[in-house]
């Protein structure tokens, strides 16, 4: 896929994320938009996982620790053919499998997540299994910067380095905002690079909304042989919609009809200029 095509995908994904959040009248809007480009690049060129090989023990695994931004995951999985996109019309409705967090009832979802601080330990176990079985798959997990105070992340970080899991790549969607306030004001976790390096990880940083840069850096995984990779993806919460970017209320704000139309107009404009 060309960079232009990737950029088109990102804009299309953002439009669909908003469409289904508006329809469901619920969703984690800002965070879904911040991680869109990361999911786009992972599923369109980095990971060896498709509907056809999803039951293969050799597939790459993606575990979304920041489960609340499930709308981005669902939209990407639908685009990859894991299920018909129209299924998302039932998002958050009575008896729908498409709930507000990832569940394995949805084809393509590896693990049920939603409670924070759970993705990395599961990813570590999955990566250890890969090493034990001498398999070549990689395990990717996406964490929010707001979930990093959960202690289980740091327990798992120690284990990943101890077992030299260079088949594991954790990506932090560092959009720097969480439900209450800027992450630095709630519980400052900076400097992240030094923390993870001191835990034994190979660390890189990237503009997490730049698909070209993301693809380049993710192709470099493992960043260092014998070490788990940690990618700090600097992103903008609400990315792609001017009035949402870096505005706290869009953590789980749902656009009005007029706001939705404006957002779509802006994203269509992006598509036109590509």
């Amino acid at each position: 896929m060309t960079v232009k095509e990737l950029k088109q995908k990102s804009a299309e994904y953002r439009k669909r994320i908003l469409k289904y959040i508006v329809k469901a009248k619920a969703g984690h809007t800002g965070g879904s938009l911040s991680c869109t480009d990361i999911l786009n690049v992972l599923y369109n060129g980095i990971m060896n996982v498709f509907p056809e090989n999803f039951s293969s023990p050799d597939r790459d695994r993606y575990i979304q620790s920041k489960g609340h931004t499930v709308e981005a995951l669902f939209v990407v999985l639908a685009d990859k053919g894991f299920f018909p996109e129209e299924d998302l019309n039932t998002l958050c409705q009575y008896q729908s499998h498409y709930i507000g967090h990832p569940t394995r009832k949805v084809n393509g979802v590896e693990q049920n997540t939603g409670a924070l601080g759970h993705g990395l330990p599961i990813a570590v176990g999955t990566a250890i299994a890969g090493k034990l079985d001498r398999k070549d798959y990689n395990v990717y997990t996406l964490l929010g910067d707001g979930e990093l105070p959960e202690g289980s992340n740091w327990e798992a970080a120690l284990t990943a380095a101890h077992y030299k899991l260079d088949n594991l790549c954790a990506i932090i969607d560092k959009n720097s905002l969480q439900i209450t306030a800027p992450t630095a004001d709630v519980c400052n976790t900076d400097p992240l690079d030094e923390k993870w390096k001191s835990f034994g990880w190979a660390v890189k940083e990237v503009d997490g909304n730049d698909v070209e840069a993301l693809r380049k850096v993710l192709h470099q995984h493992p960043f260092e042989a014998g070490k788990p990779s940690l990618l700090i993806a600097h992103t903008t919460k609400g990315k792609g919609v001017s009035y949402m970017e870096n505005v706290l209320k869009w953590h789980h704000g749902v656009p009005s009809e007029a706001e939705y139309e404006q957002a779509i107009k802006e994203l269509d404009q992006v598509l036109k200029t590509l």
Binding site: P57, Q111, I122, G125, T126, I128, A129, L132, S152, T159
Partner: protein, 325 residues
């Protein structure tokens, strides 16, 4: 007919757990033990020496232990996540709920030194809540094998079961409750150890032993008790429970757990909803700061002893439901 039991010549169930796991690992490289600096207390040192590629050590980090175990289980490993029951089912409860039960990763969660096995180490090291907490979580079997046979069978079955399982073990050497040659072990199927129609004593784990001793004592007074090893707390063997409730005048439950939310309340809830009212008593650890002392001291203090259970049984048999009220 209840018989006297030799209480000294058998192993702690924990040792049987380790031996069984080693035997399974000899022919199955997918058997994996995950430990949190707990291989010593879990009797898994020999396992680790024999199968260094099949033990994953995460250090003292129970949440991570369960999450890692879930990841391994999702890759077809037969995982035995082994840690003291007190930490495993409290600190890592959310991981058991979400990563194991809700995600249906078939981890065998092994709570070691359960109940008040740690005795004088105190409440931090006691697990009197694990049945209650795990009974309220969907998609996990909850069991407390009593003797070495039940332990061996439960481990073998857990390795084959494609559902999450919680097993808890104590440290006390446990005699065989009875000859088990013709029995088939199944989760959700309790065992009648001895039969009588005056009272049903339904127990699990290490409390089956004093229950059986109490039955022998009662027999000396011509009071015939049924003793059930209800090793599986969930799913409960309601068929067996109904049968003994129909047969016996009264029902006494005994468990190394809080009187709230465990085996006793599970039995009571079922029988009440079936309209099977009988004089009924739950023996366990009451809702108070647990008395200090060894496991034996604590058991004796709360009447979980040969004499205490026999006494409670006699009182219950002579009571009507109306008098209980």
């Amino acid at each position: 007919m209840a018989e006297q039991i030799n209480t000294t010549s058998y192993k702690p169930n924990l040792e049987v757990y380790s031996e069984t796991l080693q035997r399974l690992a000899e022919t199955d490289r997918n058997i994996i033990a995950v430990t949190s600096d707990s291989r010593g207390s879990g009797k898994l040192v020999p396992f680790g020496k024999r199968f260094p590629q099949q033990i994953v050590e995460v250090g003292i980090a129970e949440q991570n232990l369960v999450g890692v175990a879930a990841g391994l289980a999702s890759c077809n490993k037969k995982v035995f996540a082994t840690s003291p029951a007190c930490f495993l089912t409290a600190r890592a409860l959310e991981q058991i709920k979400n990563d194991v039960a809700y995600s249906n990763n078939p981890v065998n969660v092994i709570g070691i030194s359960a109940g008040v096995s740690y005795g004088a180490l105190g409440t931090t090291h006691h697990s009197l809540h694990d049945f209650a907490a795990l009974r309220a979580i969907n998609n996990i079997i909850v069991a407390a094998p009593a003797d070495n046979w039940e332990t061996e069978q439960a481990i073998e079955l857990a390795a084959k079961t494609e559902l999450p399982v919680y097993l808890r073990f104590g440290k006390k050497p446990m005699p065989f409750l009875k000859e088990a040659a013709d029995e088939i072990f199944a989760f959700g199927k309790g065992r009648i150890i001895t039969e009588g129609d005056a009272i049903a004593i339904i127990a699990c784990g290490e409390t089956v032993l004093p229950a059986l001793e109490a039955a022998a004592l009662l027999q000396e007074e011509n009071i015939a008790a049924t003793v059930v090893s209800m090793h599986t707390i969930k799913p409960l063997d309601t068929e067996l429970l109904s049968a003994v409730a129909r047969k016996c005048q009264a029902i006494l439950t005994v468990e190394e757990h809080s009187i709230y939310g465990g085996l006793g309340e599970a039995c009571a809830a079922y029988l009440l909803q079936q309209g099977m009212g009988k004089p009924f008593k739950i023996m366990g650890i009451p809702d108070e700061y647990t008395v200090t002392g060894s496991q034996g001291d604590i058991f004796t203090h709360y009447g979980i002893s040969k004499a205490g259970i026999a006494e409670a049984a006699k009182t219950l048999i002579g009571t009507t439901i109306q008098e209980q009220n």
